[in-house]
Symmetry: C2
Amino acid sequence: MPTRVSQRPTQRQIAAQVGVSVTTVSRILNPEETHPERWASPETVEAIRKAASDLGYRRNALAVSLRTSRSQTVGVLLPMIGDYVLATIFAGIDEVARENGVMAITASTLDEPALRAERTFKMLDHLVDGMIFADAHLDEHFLDGIEAQRVPFTLVHRRHSRHISVTADDRAAGRMAAEHLISLGRTRLAMVTGRRYMSTGTDRVEGFVSAALEAGLPEPTIYDNGFTVRAGRDAAVAMLARPPYPDGLFAFHDLAILGAASVFRHHGLRVPDDIATVGFYDSPMAWASDMTSIGVNLQDMGRRSLELLLDRLSGKPIESEVFPVTLTVRHSTDPSRPVGSPMEAPIARAL
Amino acid sequence: MPTRVSQRPTQRQIAAQVGVSVTTVSRILNPEETHPERWASPETVEAIRKAASDLGYRRNALAVSLRTSRSQTVGVLLPMIGDYVLATIFAGIDEVARENGVMAITASTLDEPALRAERTFKMLDHLVDGMIFADAHLDEHFLDGIEAQRVPFTLVHRRHSRHISVTADDRAAGRMAAEHLISLGRTRLAMVTGRRYMSTGTDRVEGFVSAALEAGLPEPTIYDNGFTVRAGRDAAVAMLARPPYPDGLFAFHDLAILGAASVFRHHGLRVPDDIATVGFYDSPMAWASDMTSIGVNLQDMGRRSLELLLDRLSGKPIESEVFPVTLTVRHSTDPSRPVGSPMEAPIARAL
DNA sequence: CTGAAAGCGCTAACAT
DNA sequence: ATGTTAGCGCTTTCAG
């Protein structure tokens, strides 16, 4: 790309126009400076402000960052920004970023190690003050390397044994799902999970399986296809290829339930009569599709992950946080619940 | 936030270690330099490369940008990154960005003018080389102001009368939806649209309405609630509050159909028998919910919007592009189509 | 083939 | 209350 000649006014121009030094201009125009009158006479302050406004002056963020070694920017690495879950978490992060005058820049990594490294380093090249990883892999060493470079960061969504994170209580969620299905008399339980390296997956599996075993049920079947509509579809196809079918299904994303339910429908299986389903994240899709789902406040999780990072950047000690989860029962596990949304029903989220 | 002491190695350190000047180091390590041997002896080149690698050197992108006045960064403004549509467009943009070694940074504006301005200026403060707006408002003046500042940009998703854009053929899509519903014998048509300032909305409305009127049907009813599950819910509630009900519904987002269908279900109305529905974007939700939907290649639209921007940055002339749309008929308009997904059915997208 | 010097726009000692 | 000076890390004439 060719050079675009910057037409932006500089402090030097203002200084020349007002007849002061750039130092004075810098001091007056620095937004961190709460009491600019300390540095210049009221007339000078006024003149500088007027000139800045007349010229349409804006501070060059790059120059400031280079000089101060802090960019007021944080990098956020997500497995996939397009996913409802990550997008909602990011919305929370972005909210806090805005409240604190920092810029949150984001990139998707698709959980590919090479891509994660590439994008992380690219962000560090831009001197981000800190990072938030929503794509941690259990016990991986990548994050240790980042820490060794003295880059401050927090984790959100997925935890890691050695680093500070903000996560849902996934273990409790797993238990909750199992206990709910068991309370309905379901005995052949199955799960559509994520990959093993995701703490979200392993923790939920652990909670789910232990609750099932404690209830004297056989080991639940695991389909580790993932979190998409397609993942649910593929898992359901695999289930139907190998009878007996499960009568209780827990998927780690509402979208996967949507995909699975579609296959069930095609084969004449009824939800919840033949298969009861529990989804995750209690998204608008869950509401609109009458799905029982386990929810957690994703937006607040995102908020906290940046709040913690900012605390850490201020030198405060920080600790991991675990968010409580809640079960919302709908028609997909309880045939007595109405199908469809009544006209007055509230709906939780904006999407 | 306090200063984080940068531990990063600099060219100066490499220069000192190798015993050359920073100039030489800069020349050798500049990735734009295709033939570094032109600048130094093979031994010097090798020594510099080794030192850089040993120290873990990475160029300080901010310093480069400040010096060269180009940041290899583009800003992307979206109405809402969490939405399937915008996220998919952004995925295309990001792909091209990566292919060209540029960084795409993004922010959501919620279509609020104040937020758009704030985020745009923040990006310009970071010296982005160009911008892509996915949130253009018809005939607004904001974009003219940006152009007056000589900031190169393109539009995607929504068009504007005075600027280059990459959009779907929304007018054709509107016609297509209407003609399909009319061909099924539906006569009481309704739409769940976006706001008037969105070209996506107005163009589809125009196509839909003109096709309806040409067929001798009464003017379709418009519910301008928007693109979310909730929007569809609210629109459906409004429909049912005012009989006679429509028998053909076109919504500008699959999610809105999902929300509306939920209300219909609750009131015992059958899809498609009582109300046939056509959605938009042919998302995985459409597939999983047996919805007829109009699709367009969102990812490629995103790709083209950045390709055009890069062309413009290279001084090439560029022109607006319009992407073709396609109708995929499913059960929501055709009771003879199977419900649910057959085991072999392919599914278009990754989400 | 290599280097010295200037400077991108800004901030922060250190003056006065 | 204001200015001088130095310099963040890098690229880029200009000189040799």
